[in-house]
Symmetry: C2
Subunit: 211 residues, 2 copies
DNA sequence: GAAGCTAAGTTAACACTGTTCACATGATGC
DNA sequence: GCATCATGTGAACAGTGTTAACTTAGCTTC
C-alpha cells in the first residue's frame, strides 16, 4: 500500500517479457533465445538475470501473458443471455482463440512443462504436484465447470459431478483443436468447414449429455 | 537386389538412432543433443553428419522408430473377434500406448513440426503441405477409418462419411489423453480411474453415434 | 552533505551447442 | 598398383545459457 515504489523501474522487466513474447511467437520454443530477447531490449544477456532467474522463468512470464490474452477471449462469453448460450459461446471463443492465436494455444495447452523446462521429472512427480489442490485453481477448468454447473441448474444437462462432465467436454474440444493444429486432421479441409464440424460436434456433445 | 551391400556398415547408423531415441526419451526435446548422441555411440559429432543431414534428421529418425512401436500396439487390436471388439480394443491399445510410452505419445501427437525443427513456417504452409493427399497416408488415421468403416458395415454405427466419424472419435480419445498427459486433468485422480473414465467415454461415444 | 546500501547494469569468462571444413584411412573396384 | 569413395577425425566458428566480479546511479540514514 504505502510502500514507496517497490518496483519503480520495472519498465525493462515488462519490456523483456514483451520482447520474449515476440521472440517466442516468431520462432517457437526451439528458436527461443535469452540473448536474442536481451538484444532486442538493448540489455546485456547477464542483465536479464536481474529480473528473471533464467531462461525458463522468462519463458514462464511470456506464457503467463499469453494466458491473460486467452482469458480475455473466454470472458466475452459471459455476456451471453442464457446458460446454454454462455456454454456455446464459450466453446466458440475457445475455438476463436485457438485459431487466431495458434501458437499461444499450442504453448498453453499442447506443450508440457517438460518440453519447456529442461528438467524432466517423471509423470508421477507432476501428477502428484498438480492433483486436486492445485488443479482447482486452473482458471480454464474452473470457468468450464461453472458453465456446466449452471447448465445443470437450468436443467439442460443431467445432474452429476460437474467436474467429470467438464472433463468430457473440454477433452472433446481440445482434441479437435489439437489435432487440427498439429496437422493430423488434413481431410477436414478449410478453416470454415472445420469450425462447422467443431460446432456440430459441440451440439452433439451437449445433446448426448442432456436428459 | 544384386547390389553388393550398399549400406554394408550402417551399424553405426542404427546405433545412432537407438542412442538418439534413448537421449530423447530421457531428456525430451529440450535436452536433446546431437553431441551427446555421438558421445554415447563413441563417434565424433562431425561423424554423425556422414549418416544424417543434421540434428533434425536424427530426431526424425528417432521419431520414425517411435512410430513403429506405436503401430505394434495398434496392430494387436486386429486380433479381436468382432468389429465392435476391434474398435474397443483399438481404443484400449491407443490408451495403453499413451500411458506406457507417454513421452513417445507426446512426441508423436502433441508436438508440432515447428516445435521439433527450428524452422517456423506459418500454419497455412503446413496445412497446404499436409492436406488431403499426404493425410490419406497417415497410418493412424487410416487404421481408425478402417475400424469405423467395418463398424458401419456391421450396422453398429450409422452410415456416413467414415473419415468424419473417425475424426470425431479420434479427437475425443486424443483430447482425453492429451489433457491427462499435460497435467490439466488433475482431479480425475489415479491412472486406473482415468482408464475407467476413458473407457466409459468411448462407450458413450459409440452409443451416441449408433442408430 | 557524507557514508553506506541496494538495485540494475556492465564485461569477461566457462562450458556447452550445431555445423562446416580440411584432412586421414581403410576397404573396394579396375 | 592405384584411384575412388564411404567413413571417420580434429579444429574451428558462431551461437547458446549461466556465473562471477565489477561499476554505477539512486535512496536512506546518520
Amino acid at each position: 500500500m504505502g510502500r514507496p515504489a517497490q518496483h519503480a523501474s520495472d519498465d525493462t522487466r515488462s519490456r523483456l517479457v514483451a520482447a520474449a513474447r515476440d521472440v517466442f511467437l516468431e520462432g517457437g520454443v526451439a528458436n527461443f533465445s535469452l540473448r536474442e530477447v536481451a538484444r532486442r531490449v538493448g540489455v546485456s544477456a547477464a542483465g536479464v538475470y536481474r529480473h528473471f532467474d533464467g531462461k525458463d522463468a522468462l519463458v514462464d512470464a511470456a506464457c503467463a501473458q499469453g494466458f491473460a490474452v486467452f482469458s480475455s477471449y473466454l470472458v466475452r462469453a459471459l455476456g451471453a443471455g442464457t446458460p446454454r448460450e454462455r456454454m456455446l459461446t464459450s466453446a466458440d471463443q475457445y475455438l476463436r482463440f485457438a485459431l487466431e492465436n495458434p501458437r499461444d494455444y499450442r504453448f498453453i495447452f499442447m506443450s508440457t512443462a517438460e518440453d519447456i523446462h529442461r528438467s524432466a521429472p517423471s509423470l508421477p512427480a507432476r501428477a502428484g504436484r498438480k492433483d486436486l489442490a492445485a488443479m482447482a485453481e486452473d482458471p480454464t477448468f474452473r470457468f468450464l465447470v461453472d458453465r456446466v454447473r449452471e447448465c445443470m441448474a437450468a436443467g439442460m444437462l443431467d445432474e452429476g459431478l460437474p467436474e467429470k462432465i467438464a472433463v468430457l467436454i473440454w477433452s472433446h474440444l481440445h482434441g479437435l483443436i489439437s489435432l487440427r493444429l498439429s496437422g493430423h486432421l488434413g481431410p477436414v479441409g478449410d478453416e470454415a468447414s472445420f469450425a462447422a464440424l467443431y460446432r456440430e460436434s459441440v451440439e452433439r456433445m451437449l445433446q448426448s449429455l442432456g436428459s
